[in-house]
């Protein structure tokens, strides 16, 4: 299946196996290498944050954003 992944001003189109999850896309070493994103990111599809176990949408667009964790005092 084909996915479009957006990170900042970059857009990448990738082909993944059927059944690929959001978590697997976020952990994709090739994408991490070209985009520079780390482990601290989240995936948003149609404005809604997706869990790691959710199936990636075939033909869809995943927007990857940097997570801003709050401070733990």
């Amino acid at each position: 299946m084909q996915l479009t992944v957006k990170f900042g001003s970059d857009t990448y189109t990738r082909v993944y196996a059927e059944g690929t999850t959001i978590g697997q896309v976020l952990a994709d070493h090739d994408l991490k290498a070209v985009t520079g994103w780390g482990d601290n990111v989240r995936a948003v599809v149609s404005g809604v944050e997706q869990g790691a176990n959710v199936l990636a949408p075939d033909g869809g667009i995943i927007v990857v954003e940097t997570k801003a964790n709050t401070k733990q005092n």
Binding site: G8, G36, W37, V63, E65, N69, K71
Partner: protein, 244 residues
């Protein structure tokens, strides 16, 4: 100005048309009508020279969307007010022990291929600061978090408790800017740029002591770039509101 004319429609009817133009003050209602879905961005709204202690600052750009008014200021230099230590004969930030004395202030000049921005978002109509960001931008527009403390993962600044209220927009921006200038880079959030954030800060921000006095900023050493020492970020808020 009023313009009057007759218009013949396709169906043959004739209409009397009056167009009236008049200048109005840009008030909240009008701004809201323009800025419901997309922010209005205005470059160079005013010179940042009106801010206190503002050498080399660029102009202030504004982005307005609903109740958000975000000001972007390009920095010619970054004030590093923090603890420093000696490393291989050079002064480098000691962010890990950021709360210890002594405190120095070094003004770091970004490399030519980095645009560095201070962003302040204010919430209308209360005119209070909501969030602040320190964002580095590369020549093709990618955004980065510098290897510093007091920054969340998305380059949002931890600015503590501070009275940012003001009666005008420029009052609030001035207060945010003054607080940014005078605040110390502590050890808070130092790890949010990744495990190598502290060592990267020492590679990026280096100053060589000069005889008899003064310091010279050293370039980033061969094999490294400021991008490789920073963390690439993707923040919808920054993307939407930054005025480059």
């Amino acid at each position: 100005m009023t313009e009057v004319y007759y218009a013949i429609e396709y169906d043959g009817t004739v209409k009397h048309v009056t167009v009236t133009e008049r200048e109005v003050l840009m008030d909240q209602n009008i701004m809201s009508r323009f800025a419901v879905d997309n922010p209005i961005k205005v470059n160079s709204v005013m010179s940042a020279a009106i801010l206190p202690e503002s050498p080399g600052l660029g102009n202030i750009g504004l982005s307005i969307k609903r109740h958000n008014v975000a000001a972007t200021i390009r920095l010619a230099q970054l004030p590093l007010r923090c603890a420093f230590k000696m490393k291989s004969g050079n002064m480098v930030p000691d962010l890990k022990n950021g709360n210890s004395d002594p405190e120095f202030v070094m003004n770091w000049v970004p490399p030519n291929n980095m645009r560095l921005y201070f962003m302040v978002n204010m919430i209308q109509p209360a005119m209070s600061v909501d969030v602040q960001f320190l964002v580095a931008v590369d020549p093709v527009g990618k955004h980065y978090r510098l290897p510093l403390s007091n920054l969340y993962e998305d380059s949002r600044m931890c600015h503590g408790v501070y009275d940012y209220s003001g009666s005008t927009l420029i009052d609030v921006i001035s207060k945010a800017w003054t607080q940014f200038q005078k605040s110390r880079w502590q050890s808070d959030l130092v790890d949010r740029g990744g495990a190598s954030s502290v060592s990267n800060s020492m590679e990026m921000f280096k100053f060589k002591p000069l005889e008899p006095s003064g310091f010279e900023q050293l370039p980033i050493k061969d094999g490294y770039t400021w991008e490789s020492l920073s963390t690439r970020i993707s923040s919808p808020f920054i993307t939407e509101h930054i005025v480059l």
